[in-house]
């Protein structure tokens, strides 16, 4: 150990501020980057899931619409016959 006491360790000669500043900045940047990176796959999966859901809804809606049109058509057809 180069330091006698903990307070000496914190002050680091008289340059404690600069040393802890650089270590702190590094920690903050790496933490931000780490959290952002670790979330990446989940974020992308979430995006894909939302897109799939939207596609499904669109498909269901179009199907419903097509069915509705068919029904309407058959009803008008039958109406003409009558």
């Amino acid at each position: 150990m180069t330091f006698e006491s903990f307070s000496e360790f914190l002050t680091m000669g008289k340059h404690g501020f600069y040393i802890w500043l650089s270590y702190g900045c590094t920690l903050v940047i790496l933490l931000a980057l780490g959290i952002n990176s670790m979330r990446q796959p989940k974020v992308q999966l979430e995006k894909i899931r939302q897109r799939l859901k939207r596609e499904q809804q669109l498909k269901a809606y179009q199907q419903k619409k097509a069915e509705g049109q068919n029904q309407q058509q058959t009803s008008t057809d039958s109406g003409e016959v009558v």
């Binding site: 790496l30 990446q40 897109r51």
Partner: protein
């Protein structure tokens, strides 16, 4: 070798392979960083000229080395992307760029915090700091160009070209800045008064360097996974994975 490498060009295999690497990288990085930081902060001796500020060295120099090394690895990925049309190389470039930029920023900030007690000012147009700043611009250019394209494949190819152009220019920029610095600065303040490092400083430095390198590797793998998913979003395996996570 190609036969051995071939299966890893499959996005699904690559995704699971990097997934297996990440925990190992994390463990190694955490161990090395804890040990290295502890040694650097508490055990290594203070420099006879710079005093305790020399402890910034254990982050500043690994970050600077990694920032350069990551740019080169990005350029290599760019080369693979252009020559062999590897789609996975596209994902790799997009994964590496933000990590490299972050390490460049760390090198700059710690460099400034080191400069204040040493030179009396936060910023000095020192050759290394200036090259590091230009490297940050190059990284930001790569990221901005990649984001500007709507079509991800087209963007990745453009970024590959830019990364290669940048890597050719990087040595020229570096040497011209160094030369410019000696021209304007006269006698430059060199950061390392002693020509060779003492063993008590060298060991923590090496441990810290590998710690940061493994951390960078793990983060790159994670971002790479995200990029692979985004670029293969129409494949059945990705769809299955997306739907499976819902529950």
């Amino acid at each position: 070798m190609w036969k051995w490498l071939h299966p890893y060009a499959n996005p699904e295999v690559a995704y699971h392979f990097t997934g297996k690497l990440i925990p190992w990288f994390n463990i190694i990085a955490a161990l090395l960083l804890v040990v290295g930081m502890f040694m650097g902060l508490a055990y290594s001796p203070a420099d006879y000229q710079q005093g305790e500020t020399v402890r910034i060295f254990y982050i500043h120099v690994p970050a600077a080395i990694l920032s350069m090394g990551l740019y080169f690895s990005m350029a290599i990925a760019g080369f693979c992307a252009l020559v062999w049309q590897l789609k996975l190389a596209h994902a790799a470039i997009a994964a590496i760029a933000p990590i490299g930029a972050a390490f460049t920023a760390i090198a700059l900030i710690t460099g400034a915090a080191w400069g204040k007690p040493m030179w009396g000012t936060w910023w000095i147009w020192d050759a290394r700091l200036t090259s590091e700043l230009i490297l940050l611009f190059l990284y930001l250019g790569v990221i901005a160009l990649g984001n500007a394209f709507d079509d991800k494949n087209q963007g990745a190819k453009a970024v590959s070209v830019l990364a290669l152009v940048g890597v050719v220019n990087l040595p020229i920029i570096h040497y011209s800045v160094e030369w410019w610095n000696t021209l304007h600065q006269g006698a430059t303040v060199t950061k390392f008064a002693a020509p060779s490092m003492a063993m008590s400083m060298y060991i923590p430095f090496v441990i810290c360097f590998f710690g940061f390198a493994f951390l960078a590797g793990s983060l790159i793998c994670k971002r790479f996974q995200g990029q692979v998913l985004a670029r293969n979003s129409l494949r059945p395996w990705v769809k299955k994975m997306a739907l499976a996570e819902e529950h």
